[in-house]
Amino acid sequence: MDIVLEQVEYRYAANSPFEKKAVEDVTFKIPEGQCTAIIGHTGSGKSTLLLHLNALLKPTSGTVQIGERTVKAGRKEKDLKPIREKVGIVFQFPEQQLFEETVMKDICYGPMNFGVSEEEAKKRAAFWLKEVGMPEEVLGKSPFDLSGGQMRRVAIAGVLAMEPEVLVLDEPTAGLDPRGRREMMEMFYRLHKERGITLVLVTHSMEDAARYADKVVVMHKGRKVHEAPPRELFSDTARLAEWGLGVPEVVKFQRMLEEKTGKAFPKVCLTMDELADMLKLGGESL
């Protein structure tokens, strides 16, 4: 299922003295089965844009096409549930959305809202809890007795249990420790690879964008300013700086090395592994 945004504009408090334009003239496509990263400085409009992906916000002008459905500005939309069933969003700090007495019930909440039977929902709960790396005993516990990191995992399981076709992640690893961060991202990436789930990654982390994305969309002051594969994007450090963005540490290191040795590498390395391979090659040829 593709999501296509066309000239999307969103104004908060439209037609009032407090009107504020958050997103303007944004056009791009999120192709099925790919991982698309949306990056941008704080206040660039990424979070507002993300709410359009499952019709939580309706554009004040332009259209958003989600699979077969088209959400158009100024038209009344009925029955948005099928859209929300297909596009799951993991919000920033998703642990804040937990409310049930037990972890089991909380994970079942989403699927059951979409008409999944209780029995099936419970099966899914047990399955997805394991997928996010939590022991099964937790199912009977209150989510409020868990640690912050565990709550995060349970909340994510709650979204995954809806088994959406598109998974939108808004800073899913913010506030986690480095290991938890790595595990979480690897889990999402594995789901993406194994199950063909379309991933949309809204992030501040250039490392994550470089490592996981097929395509990176750059937002700046409410507009889409660039759209490119990560390797192309991160080769242009100066341009990124204009938008208040940096490059991954590994790219910084490579650039510094190139400057000091006076030798340019044939391509920008996006991960430590790539760089290590490149250096090894370089070492052998020396």
Partner: protein, 267 residues
């Protein structure tokens, strides 16, 4: 409609009313509420209305803006008006509709009570429109200070008020966020039978309360860490200054009270 509603909102501007000491404004409004009850005939209300009009002029806000902003409150006043009109049973019958009679006293009461109500709403709105919530709190604390002698927790009360006011926008943002998160999980708060809609509020309220308690605890810790120990010996960042205009405002009220009393008791 809610966007236009101005009841309880602050409109920043620079006018005599804006610059007045919040203590003076508080006394002014509360005294006005008492004084308005002295008026009991047409002249009394004409004078009180004129007084209110002058007060509005002093605030630099346009009368039209006030009236359009207070429309929702006006509905309530209209309702009171009708109640009085139909249910007061004194004096001569003016109009007989068969199933209901309208009495002379009913008309009189209906006019006077809705007039009183209107003037009160205007005056109290003027207070909130020209005074930031934080200065209302400061003013209230300062006015209640003498009561500390009888162990009245004036400082604590003011602190509670300012904390509550401070967190209204935060809670609004959070409600919006959690609502969106639950909607993304298929909760439907805006359609379906009433029973389902009420049920859909639970997933919103529980996270909201949990977060509010967490935040209260954090705030308490943060205050403790910074050595907060109540109002004892604490100096103020925002100082209140009583100026001549504040005294004049209160004197004008005394004059109003005297005139109204004269109309009621001697003329």
């Amino acid at each position: 409609m809610m966007e236009k509603m101005i009841f309880g909102r602050y409109i920043p501007a620079d006018s005599i009313a804006h610059r007045m000491d919040p203590r003076a404004k508080l006394i002014f409004v509360f005294a006005f509420i008492a004084i308005i009850f002295i008026a009991n005939d047409v002249w009394g209300y004409v004078i009180a209305a004129a007084f209110t009009y002058i007060s509005v002029k002093m605030s630099g806000l346009s009368l039209r803006f006030l009236i359009s902003g207070l429309k929702p409150v006006m509905i309530l006043i209209a309702f009171t008006f009708l109640l009085q009109l139909f249910f007061a049973r004194e004096g001569n019958v003016v109009l007989d509709l068969g199933f209901i009679q309208i009495y002379e006293e009913g008309i009189r009461q209906a006019f006077f009570i809705s007039m009183r109500f209107t003037l009160l709403v205007f005056m109290t709105s003027l207070l909130t429109l020209t005074t930031t919530p934080i200065s209302i709190t400061d003013g209230l604390e300062s006015l209640l200070n003498p009561l500390k002698k009888i162990k009245f927790p004036a400082h604590e009360l003011a602190l509670m008020m300012s904390i509550a006011l401070r967190f209204i926008p935060t809670l609004m943002d959070e409600t919006d966020k959690i609502m969106k998160a639950q909607m993304a999980r298929g909760s439907d708060m805006s359609s379906g039978p009433l029973k389902d809609r009420i049920k859909a509020i639970v997933p919103l309220m529980i996270p909201l309360f949990v977060n509010a308690f967490k935040r209260a605890e954090d705030l308490a810790t943060a205050m403790e860490v910074r050595g907060y120990r109540g109002g004892e010996g604490r100096t103020k960042y925002r100082l209140l200054f009583w100026k001549a205009r504040d005294t004049f405002a209160l004197l004008s009220l005394v004059l109003l009270a005297a005139v109204l009393a004269a109309f009621r008791f001697w003329i």
